[in-house]
Subunit: 328 residues, 2 copies
Amino acid sequence: MHILIIGAAGMVGRKLTERLVRDKRLGSAPIDQLSLVDVVAPERPKGFSGKVVSEDVDLANPGVAEKLTAARPDVIVHLAAIVSGEAEADFDRGYRINLDATRALFEAIRQEGLKSPYVPRLVFTSSIAVFGAPFPDKVGDEFFTTPLTSYGTQKAIGELLLSDYSRRGFFDGIGIRLPTICIRPGKPNKAASGFFSNILREPLSGQEAVLPVAETVRHWHASPRAAVDFLLHAMTMDSSVLGARRNLTLPGLSATVAEQIEALRRVAGEKAVRLIRREPDPTIVRIVSGWPQNFDAKRATALGFQAEKTFDEIIRIHVEDELGGKIG
Amino acid sequence: MHILIIGAAGMVGRKLTERLVRDKRLGSAPIDQLSLVDVVAPERPKGFSGKVVSEDVDLANPGVAEKLTAARPDVIVHLAAIVSGEAEADFDRGYRINLDATRALFEAIRQEGLKSPYVPRLVFTSSIAVFGAPFPDKVGDEFFTTPLTSYGTQKAIGELLLSDYSRRGFFDGIGIRLPTICIRPGKPNKAASGFFSNILREPLSGQEAVLPVAETVRHWHASPRAAVDFLLHAMTMDSSVLGARRNLTLPGLSATVAEQIEALRRVAGEKAVRLIRREPDPTIVRIVSGWPQNFDAKRATALGFQAEKTFDEIIRIHVEDELGGKIG
């Protein structure tokens, strides 16, 4: 089993790689090659006995997709993307990476298959940004995609291409719309969604964090561990049950900021909660007001995708996976 | 007022041109230039006092979109497309014309606007092929786009690009999903949907026609005259009421083949109906079974788009517009 991860240096890519190295197999198949690519060379995993290829390549550059697919990986995980804020700020770059590079990958797989039969499993990480306000209370599986960002547009186009290329038999694609990942490890960043993680991660390490919105704000979350489980399930599941509708809104946990804070209080106590400083930011308030709050992810749930059921669980996963079990 | 029609040599393009020439104005603005382009040079309209440019160009060729937009038309109507059957048979050609050429047009408008402000109205003809079975009884305005053809995929991508380019202020776009046009003038063709027109048009001229499906088949129709009215409305309406959701399922008439035949009987008598020969075609039966049957086009109706209310009306429009009022 040869697995190619495009965008392997990112947070989710690194965690997926670690997990594959630990499991040594995907489903029942032993992994004998990992190809890890990103715009910076992904770290080579330790303790993996199979072959590892790690390369810094830009998928949007001519010939890159062709070279990657010429090695005929059995499973391709396409995580590479320009994030929402940057795709909005730099229109050309967003379309180049999020649309053109994705299409180049899909087309390279098709061209490889025209030489001799080749139908890899392809997992594409899409986003709930394919949806745009106004929303129903819970966004259902058949709600239309009217993105309000260029990023969401590019992801929605990727989904359509994935469905068409799969329908034509050029690859076996599954698109998964990840919830917002919480708690993101690392440092606070400037993403508008950053505070959902910051207000938990920082206090758990004794640091202050800023809350720029009201506690009534509701959003849709899953842990990094759930994200890796989502990917593994999408890499291995029986895709024949998907029919022609190959893009799935994944399950998540809908919670208000107040509920996040209550969970923090239960897990880490009042002293952690006191480290959250309220500092309303009108720009972030406005951006977040356009985001979906809740989904009814019936289909993906029935297909075996699972997310956390409480924020206590999400916090405990962070403490286990990032803090060595210690709060503080 | 300078109007550019891309795909002006097709049936709808010709009828739109005729109407604009007859009206001499669009809304309240006199038309002083018509630019008509297609892969074959559109016929130059008679009796138009303004400037006419007629050219055979392929929008997918490098530089063509740039040249067309450099003339800064006030309104651009983009009708050009490879039809469904051909886009399915020739994957590369379908993507080249229906996606790449559309994107080239959008991008050329944006680039023109980067030189100095330029925000034309852009009307894009999409299709109900953006939807895919299984369907609810009536497909609502918020039903998701899961096309089952490459053509439908390409149109759905065009819609997403149109929304994003409009949201960013690069043009003022409206995408309209036309019903199946009935009665199409001309000769019977091999399109899977051809029989919906054939079984009326041919008997109205005393010719035999083949019905390849059961009379219970239900579909979604509007006349060529309604199609022109749709375009004129989209070219002139206040687009600010659209908000970010710029693609509309247009109203139509949902009717079974039996209802079409009953209308033919009322308008043209039993002798016309007897010219319909039943000859089931399993391929067409299968294709048509995947098509939507009915829509609830609330939004477009509220925005002033109107289609026929009865098939008698659709037939009478054909008799008036194509047969000089006479039934043969």
